[in-house]
């Protein structure tokens, strides 16, 4: 490649990066915008202020975590640890949700860029973000399947309020036999962002309701439930239905309910 080509590319690169750099005062800070997009398709802005005659502080004003937060990525201890690792690799700090560095004035550009890198890398947490799928689809199929039990003389109540030893719970479906006997409580559970927390909450409900019900947990998106969370569900004595397909989940649930109520 001739020097003419490399020179023109170099000029184009300088122009591209140069036009994306800005520094403007904002209060006690200097607002510095640097080139290079995050995954969100925006440039990164960092804020610098003098601490002493020689030293400056550069930070992102918590905008990286605020951007994640506003897009549904809530900061769990695990995610905070990840962000701290990113900061450590880049030799900046991550404290109180802020990427920060303290440096000499001559190092300001270097550390501003490091903080920018940390912000850009933090945006990769968006890749892990997944939405909470509404439970309605699975519940609709479960409702349809359980309604068939009414013809057999069972009483089916949806969103039934029940008092436990410590709290009042709401059971998705309560199926009570026509004659005396223990009822079944069916709960549809989505893994959310923490299957373990969902399992813990469900386990609390089961133990709090003690012997009032035979419990059936219908798991939505079973591939996202961890083994540990599944073990907890089994250990509290719940029958677990893995709803891989909403349409078949209803039928499966009905069969399990009939089984626990001794009808099969």
């Amino acid at each position: 490649m001739g020097s003419r080509n490399s020179d023109s590319i170099l000029d184009a690169l300088r122009e591209h990066f140069g036009c994306n750099v800005a520094a403007e005062p904002e209060g006690e800070f200097l607002r510095i915008t640097l080139p290079g997009n995050t995954l969100d398709e925006h440039l990164v802005t960092v804020y610098a202020r003098p601490l002493t005659v020689d030293y400056w502080e550069v930070q992102d004003a918590a905008s990286a975590t605020a951007d994640l937060f506003c897009q549904g990525v809530h900061l769990t201890p695990l995610r905070r640890a990840r962000l701290r690792q990113i900061a450590e690799r880049l030799r900046v700090t991550f404290e109180d949700d802020v990427f920060k560095a303290v440096c000499r004035e001559e190092e300001l550009a270097f550390y501003a860029w490091r903080v920018r890198d940390a912000v850009a890398l933090a945006s990769t947490l968006l890749l892990e973000h997944r939405f909470v799928r509404p439970r309605i689809e699975v519940r609709r199929h479960v409702r349809m399947a359980l309604s068939a039990l009414q013809a057999k003389g069972f009483q089916v109540r949806e969103r039934a309020e029940t008092r436990g030893e410590h709290a009042i719970h709401r059971v998705d479906f309560e199926i009570r036999p026509e004659r005396e006997g223990v009822a079944a409580a069916v709960q549809t559970l989505s893994p959310g962002n923490s299957p373990w927390l969902r399992a813990e909450a469900y386990a609390f409900m089961v133990t709090d309701l003690d012997h009032q019900y035979r419990h059936v947990a219908v798991l939505q998106d079973p591939e996202f439930w961890t083994k540990k969370a599944l073990n907890l569900l089994h250990s509290v004595g719940a029958r677990v239905v893995e709803a891989r397909e909403p349409a078949s989940a209803g039928q499966q649930t009905r069969e399990v309910v009939e089984e626990v109520l001794g009808q099969r």
């Binding site: 994306n20 800005a22 904002e26 209060g27 800070f29 607002r31 915008t33 997009n37 969100d40 398709e41 925006h42 440039l43 802005t45 804020y47 930070q59 992102d60 004003a61 918590a62 905008s63 975590t65 605020a66 951007d67 937060f69 506003c70 897009q71 549904g72 809530h74 109180d96 949700d97 802020v98 892990e128 997944r130 939405f131 909470v132 799928r133 509404p134 439970r135 309605i136 519940r139 969103r159 962002n193 998106d221 591939e223 996202f224």
Partner: protein
Amino acid sequence: MARRLPPPSPDYVRHVLETPKRLRCSLNELINCLNRDGRVTLPIELEGTTEADPDHGVELNVAAKINLPKSWRASLKVNRQRVDGVDWHATEVKGAGCEPLSGWHRHVYDEAVGDAERNRVPIEDPAPDGKIKTFIESILKMMNVYIDAEAINGQQELGLDP
């Protein structure tokens, strides 16, 4: 690798966006929480509903950690997906009308795509006086959220995100 699950249905999101929404938290409480934690998540109730919808969660998020208005953010989320939002970026990307966009902008829900991430339209500075109270008042007005003063009296502790 986690599979990306479907977002809430566009019909429901449209319903949320069009319906006036109720916030059971006073402005002062909200500001106090922001001062303490730097961010706040508050459940939002749709007008006309009396109990929480078990299948959908609507929440308002505000983040304002540092007293630098351009670092403040707000979003309205359904099932943890942003369907409306306000933020500032020194960005030169294509806005809704394919115009270069920088500064304060609003994330507008795009039914075709099913999210509000790329569809941005420029807006006026929501806090021209640089005050958080003005910022919050502006975004509540924009997002059609009102503070239910009657409900605040005697309410239990706020259900804030940990």
